[in-house]
């Protein structure tokens, strides 16, 4: 199937790969290598023995096992709970489907501080569940409390990552020919066996891709573990943060970082291999052709239950934020929203909170420009070519997602310290860091578009007299442009929600929305809390709007990530 793909010759591929490689080299590889070198070779001579010694310490093994178990369990749960929703979104038509699907992405880009406080409210002692139980059975009823437990982390991880399963697996599912399943039914397979023997194997490449991304996110999960976990629940990521930011024990931090990055690379490469191995030539159908309204009463009930449960799970924490933002001394009111406009010194922000909205949008625009441009170039290389360059670039671009933000942040400090590249305190560093994190999303949005392009279109163009260059311009470029727009939308949303890296980057007094929320939450007083929640609601609305726009642009094309 590759033989009609226009050959992207090596010199051109290398040339196109230069800008993204240079960007990653300068703003990711070099800083990370520098900070690791400080840990591994404090006197200029590498000391691998001390790294291995660190790995052999019992607390490292404990942390590693806990990290893997937590990520594995989180991924499994996300998959199990996400598959029914993916099925419903792929196979059925129902009212407001586009809006609902866009809403499922909102949690994915919400900063952990926001989600953390929503879950504390939901799972803590004064949760609505406990309030209802108390109202029904009196004050003596035992309280349901999940905060400070592994269960709370798992719930939050599922909440965060359901969108990945719904979009990636559901996206593939929507393109599978439903008659393949019908053929199995006609041959006597029960619905369950049809799923197991036909649907599941065909979905597997998408499942592996989605699962590897969820695993990547949960294995590097930081805020959720710190905010919702118990005091003993420490993951590699939390430990790296502690060793670096609190203890300044760079040798230990370096050893742990190498462990984490190696693990992430293994997962990335294994998933890439598995996908190549499992990829099947099959007739894909337009998603609009495979979805239909539920027909029988049983089907309607099933769709309603799955959809209801999924949305209740994903939207309750968001609604809690809205509820808290409206809380006022007496009942409800819009005081917190009014406070966004004012500059109350009790908020301890340099400017009124709405200023953070302006700053966030500015940074997001800059990050989108950088990530969109570089991501498009990278996607062209990865999408049109196979082989070491494509695979290496793909892995390199994904790697920042699996690297601790504090390591990159501290790496910036020790690397970008020489003019003209002394960017350590520059505002430029924020869009650069955001672009680093948004790049994988842009690339993963565009590459499938390239790979899914129907070669027969190019052949038809050639038959009508178009030269290869003309074919590229007339056929490939317009399709690519739409993919790039989708990727840019994701970059924008990711930048809006980015929190961990932004907090580590030294910056003057302009702050992004998540950082402003974090600062407000760190100040005493119910008014500041409500203002933080109001700002979180603003962020939610911005994100949902961005995602809805993406959906519009995307139409029925391949799914991003």
């Amino acid at each position: 199937m590759d033989r009609h793909r226009p050959a992207l010759t090596s010199p051109w591929a290398l040339l196109l790969a230069v800008p993204p490689l240079a960007f990653l080299g300068l703003f990711f590889v070099w800083p990370v290598v520098n900070i690791l070198a400080l840990g591994i070779a404090p006197e200029g001579r590498p000391a691998p023995a001390s790294v291995i010694e660190t790995w052999l310490e019992p607390f490292v093994l404990d942390t590693l096992l806990f990290t893997l178990a937590l990520a594995g369990l989180s991924t499994l749960l996300t998959l199990l709970l996400g598959l029914p929703a993916a099925w419903v979104f792929a196979r059925f038509e129902f009212p407001a489907k586009r809006v609902l699907r866009a809403l499922t992405v909102v949690p994915f880009v919400l900063p952990t501080v926001v989600v953390g406080s929503a879950f504390l409210a939901l799972l803590g002692p004064r949760s609505p569940i406990n309030a209802i139980a108390e109202a029904l059975f009196g004050a003596d009823v035992p309280q349901v409390r999940l905060d400070g437990s592994v269960a709370a982390i798992l719930v939050a991880h599922v909440f965060y990552n359901l969108a990945v399963i719904i979009r990636l697996v559901g996206g593939m599912w929507a393109h599978l020919d439903p008659r393949t399943e019908e053929a199995a039914r006609m041959l006597g397979a029960t619905p369950w066996r049809t799923f197991r023997e036909v649907t599941w194997p065909l979905l597997r490449p998408a499942v592996i891709s989605a699962v590897s991304i969820v695993f990547l996110f949960t294995v590097t999960s930081f805020g959720v573990v710190l905010l919702l976990g118990g005091p003993r629940d420490t993951t590699l990521e939390v430990e790296i943060y502690r060793q670096t930011a609190i203890l300044l024990d760079l040798p230990t931090a370096a050893a742990l970082t190498i462990l984490q990055m190696a693990g992430v690379l293994v997962v990335l490469l294994a998933s890439a291999r598995a996908q190549e191995r499992l990829a099947l030539q099959q007739r894909l159908r337009a998603s609009a052709e495979t979805a239909r309204p539920p027909r029988s009463g049983r089907e309607r009930a099933l769709v309603a239950i799955i959809l209801g449960a999924t949305l209740a799970f994903m939207l309750t924490p968001l609604l809690i934020l809205v509820e808290r933002s409206l809380a006022a001394p007496a009942g409800y009111g819009l005081a917190a929203y009014a406070a966004l406009l004012g500059d109350d010194p009790r908020m301890r922000l340099a400017a009124a909170p709405w200023q953070s909205v302006v700053d966030s949008l500015t940074y997001a625009a800059a990050a989108t420009l950088i990530a969109g441009t570089l991501g498009l170039l990278a996607a062209v290389v990865v999408g049109y070519r196979r082989g070491w360059l494509a695979r290496g670039l793909d892995a390199l671009i994904m790697l920042p997602l699996g690297t601790s933000a504090v390591i990159v942040g501290f790496g910036f400090l020790v690397s970008l310290d020489t003019p003209p590249l002394d960017l350590r305190t520059s505002v430029l560093l924020i869009p650069i860091a955001h672009a680093l994190i948004a790049l994988p999303f842009v690339m993963r949005a565009v590459v499938p578009v390239i790979r899914a392009m129907d070669d027969r279109l190019r052949e038809a163009a050639a038959m009508l007299g178009a030269s290869p260059a003309r074919t590229w311009r007339e056929i490939d470029a317009p399709i690519l442009a739409r993919g790039a727009l989708v990727g840019a939308g994701f970059a924008f949303a990711v930048s809006l929600g980015e929190f961990g890296a932004t907090l580590f980057i030294a910056r003057p007094d302009s702050v992004t929305i998540p950082v402003a929320i974090f600062r407000l939450l760190g100040q005493p007083g119910a008014a500041n809390f409500a203002t933080a929640m109001a700002l979180a609601v603003v962020l939610m609305v911005l994100t949902a709007t961005a995602v809805l726009l993406i959906e519009r642009l995307r139409g029925g094309g391949p799914q991003p990530f």
């Binding site: 710190l226 005091p231 930011a245 441009t373 003057p508 005493p524 008014a527």
Partner: protein, 351 residues
């Protein structure tokens, strides 16, 4: 062609951003690196800028620990001219890394000697905070629970399951409270802090990751939404409850700080070695220690001024506690023992 256009767009953007940065750089600037909780009213910042014809840039750099570590990592090429917010728990690490220029402000004359912890004058004490137990007033009134008046009372079965503390591994007040118990009970295996924490564990102490979680999530008093009436917080928290509460003129705070087992945290400022503006940096230290700024500190950051000659605001007089005998430890002792103590604490309380 597409590539050419993209490249042009990138160059234009980069140019604009650099231009914006260089315009800002033309004026003389002084950079103050702080932790994220730093806050001063605009008026006192502007008075410094006007008096010295300089622009003061603030550089928040994470929590106190992260800030100090960033300063140490960038010692060769400092990010700022002055650093504010290093406390006695991190002091000796910074002094060992030799990141400060010595400077003795004339205003030190008004600062009690017990706060001047570096004999070489590399750091200047600016403010003092106290980590103290806070009580939910309503839980201890009208024949409720017996209010604790000492650290020992917390181990009393009558107060079982009523206390929430922060994890010293992840929280600054959590570490301060652990240091308070170390300072108070000492290292004796029978009666020392380890035995005390074992008792607290017996008495069902709750451990939270950070201050926010402990205060808002577990504590029942004031703005807290939890169900535990005793929390580790600050001596100034009851004043904050009133000032940030529904009625800033209330007679009585809903919470109360306990005058026992308080740990004193001194916050210092220092001139970062390598600054190109040593005189301005010194002027900033003087400004931070001026009566004008010292008087603003309590309401700005809920701390007590280092100078003994500055009056506290009314709300502090009414609601905040000035501990009568705060506990403290020598910075070098803290730095030497901190990691071991945290690890031992984790084994005793959490395993």
């Amino acid at each position: 062609m597409l590539r050419a256009r993209i490249t042009a767009a990138m160059l234009v953007t980069a140019g604009l951003l650099l231009a914006a940065a260089s315009v800002a750089a033309q004026e003389r600037t002084l950079t103050l690196m702080t932790h994220d909780s730093f806050y001063l009213p605009d008026s006192v910042i502007e008075s410094f800028e006007a008096a010295n014809d300089v622009e003061l840039r603030l550089l928040p750099a994470g929590d106190a620990g992260s800030m100090v570590n960033q300063a140490i990592l960038t010692a060769d090429r400092p990010l700022a001219d002055v650093l504010f917010g290093i406390d006695n728990t991190f002091l000796s690490r910074a002094l060992a890394a030799d990141i400060f220029e010595p400077y003795r402000s004339p205003a030190l004359a008004f600062v009690p000697a017990e706060l001047q912890l570096d004999p070489d004058g590399r750091v200047t004490p600016i403010d003092v905070g106290h980590v103290c137990l806070n009580l939910d007033r309503s839980a201890f009134e009208e024949g409720g629970l017996p209010a604790p008046t000492s650290l020992e009372d917390l181990a009393d079965p009558a107060l079982a399951g009523q206390l929430v503390v922060q994890n010293p591994a992840t929280s600054s007040p959590g570490l301060a409270f652990l240091l308070a118990t170390v300072a108070y009970f000492g290292e004796d295996p029978e009666t020392g802090w380890r035995a005390y924490w074992a008792d607290l564990r017996e008495n069902d102490v709750t451990v939270a990751t950070g201050w926010e979680e402990a205060y808002y999530g577990h504590f029942s008093g004031g703005a807290g939404e939890g169900d535990l009436p005793i929390v580790v917080s600050y001596a100034s928290s009851p004043a904050a409850e009133v000032l940030f509460g529904e009625d800033p003129a209330a007679d009585e705070s809903a919470t109360l700080a306990v005058d026992a087992g308080c740990f004193r945290q001194v916050e210092f400022a220092g001139i970062l070695r390598g600054t190109e503006e040593p005189e301005l940096a010194a002027a900033l230290i003087d400004h931070l220690l001026s009566a004008e700024v010292q008087a603003e500190l309590p309401l700005a950051m809920y701390v007590y001024p280092a100078r003994s000659d500055v009056a506290l605001p009314e709300a502090f007089e009414l609601h905040a506690l000035v501990p009568s005998a705060p506990l403290s430890l020598d910075p070098a002792t803290i730095d030497a023992g901190r990691e071991t103590w945290i690890r031992e604490w984790t084994d005793i309380v959490l395993r």
